[in-house]
Amino acid sequence: MPTIHYTDAAGSTIDINANVGDSVMETAVRNGVPGIVAECGGSLSCATCHVFVREDELEQLPGMSEMEDEMLYGTTEDRRDNSRLSCQIKVTEGMDLHVTTPETQV
């Protein structure tokens, strides 16, 4: 089963078994992972599901749309090179992804 590892700003990690096809955001929210708010439910409107993807895993992910790119300029904690909106990352077969959540989303 695909696994997503969510590490919060303080360094503690929660590992969640994820369903293929769900987003990394949905997986977090449904299981109550703190640090991901996702007000808009994944419709790419709010930029409150910001995560930092582990650098060496970034390339495995499909690239981001222009809309996601622009939305990332409005996140509460400033974007970095490894920033993504987790609603736009779909869980795939065999995925083993490490993300860190920012200190604050709103």
Partner: protein, 440 residues
């Protein structure tokens, strides 16, 4: 004959309404250290779910019901939050001590007689779709879109539908119209008013949406005066077949979707004797007029939370963002803290290829600035009140949205002078509040 009644164990907090606001209240309470038992009680037979996709991705079969569920059952179990589905509360009995005082405790009585005793009560009862009164409104095929059941019913009917009429050119109506149009239906929107989304956006934005939707082939009638829904004949007796207008013309429709706004569910509050005026009247801390009951989300009429808003100005907001932020305030109130609304209200509406994001509240605006870049398909309108930006409608322009939202959040301004030029990023124009523009 006596109806057997069931008396549940007393709960620390009874939240009526397993809505966005109700769910957030339960979650936020656990985050603020509230350790009493919480009962989250909903009228529908579904686990608590998110509504926004019902008119969009869910209707278009892009997501299924499971994607709309807020939290897994394990989450609720682990956090000591008891979910009750399919329970409709009919009345509240407040406890009164011998000296006449009330401490906020009482019993909620459900339609089936079940009694839910509580120490504190939260009303997150939301709003219901406003019903249209017109000849033929009861015909089969005339539907509304508020709940998951509404959406499931609508989806089940679509196979037989070639022509659809959407009554109401607001957010729900236009989102659904775009969904139906995208599924190959002939769609006509009947808007009673002179422009689209008249209640939520200004004239420039209304016009932009009008042109865009007409351009994609949706027939939009402004100032539409309908006289009746026409019944089918023969095999289609009892079912809607069209919509008749004042001039006698009939627009074919095997489906009529009515989206003319909502009515706040204030009946329980009225029965409790709480102050009600276009929603349940609450103070800055989401507390109702009895001083103990909290009311959150769509149903609450609250002081305008925008920084700098005139004292005494009140508003009732229908949005996900408000449900969340308002619930957080209520969670603080229930744990003895007095916090005020944080953040800037924002709204979104996705209509086909148009992604509208609204930051702030336009209440009381006196001027606007339009930013338009047709080559990039971006369009924004900034709203001003006494020279201070108070809101913006942004279509496919997230940078504008973020710039205005952040400026409002920091109490800053984006002076109107240079804001119209889409080549200049709004972010670069931000100044501290009350800095006046100097004219050249």
């Amino acid at each position: 004959m006596n109806t057997p009644t069931t008396e549940r164990a007393e709960t620390g907090l009874l939240i009526i309404g397993a809505s966005q606001a109700g769910v957030q209240l339960a979650i936020s309470l656990r985050g603020t250290g509230f350790d009493e038992h919480i009962t989250l009680l909903g009228e529908e037979d579904h686990r608590p779910y998110q509504r926004p996709a019902l008119s969009k991705e869910f209707l278009q079969d892009k997501v299924d019901k499971e994607n709309l569920i807020f939290r897994s059952q394990e989450y609720w179990d682990e956090h000591g939050i008891e979910l009750v589905k399919g329970a409709r509360i009919e009345r509240i009995e407040k406890n009164t001590a011998a000296d006449g005082t009330q401490d906020g405790s009482g019993v909620a009585v459900a339609a089936d007689g079940t009694r839910y005793p509580f120490r504190r009560l939260a009303l997150a009862v939301g709003a219901r779709a406003r019903r249209l009164e017109i000849e033929g409104a009861e015909l089969d095929g005339v539907v509304y879109l508020r709940s998951a059941d509404d959406a499931l019913e609508l989806k089940a009917r679509l196979g037989d539908v070639q022509d659809a009429v959407v009554v109401g050119g607001g957010f729900i109506g236009l989102e659904a119209a775009c969904s139906l149009h995208g599924m190959g239906k002939n769609v006509t929107v009947m808007e009673y008013g002179p422009r689209l989304v008249g209640r939520a956006v200004g004239e420039d934005t209304s016009e932009y949406f009008l042109q865009a939707h007409r351009g994609r082939g949706i027939d939009i009638r402004l100032g539409a005066r309908m006289t009746r829904f026409v019944e089918g004949t023969g095999e289609r007796a009892g079912r809607v077949a069209g919509v008749e207008l004042e001039d006698g013309t009939v627009v074919d429709a095997q489906l009529v979707l009515v989206g003319i706004g909502v009515v706040p569910n204030t009946e329980l509050a009225e029965q409790m004797g709480l102050a009600v005026d276009n929603g349940i009247v609450v103070d800055r801390h989401a507390v109702a007029s009895d001083g103990t009951t909290v009311a959150v989300g769509d149903v609450a009429n609250m002081p305008n939370p925008l920084p700098g808003a005139p004292e005494g100005e009140r508003i009732r907001l229908e949005s996900v963002n408000n449900a969340i932020e308002h619930a957080k305030i209520a969670a603080y109130s229930l744990t003895g803290r007095r916090e005020e609304y944080a953040g800037i209200p924002w709204f979104w509406s996705n209509q086909a290829d148009l992604k509208l994001q609204i930051a702030g509240l336009t209440l009381g605006y006196d001027s606007t600035v339009v930013r338009r870049d047709d080559a990039k398909g971006k369009f924004s309108v900034l709203y001003y009140r006494d020279g201070q930006v108070i809101a913006a409608d942004c279509v496919n322009a997230p940078l504008d949205f973020m710039a205005v939202r952040n400026a409002l959040g920091k109490g800053q301004n984006i002076p109107a002078g240079a804001a119209a030029d889409p080549a200049v990023p709004l972010k670069s124009l931000v100044v501290d509040r009350h800095v006046q523009e100097v004219s050249a």
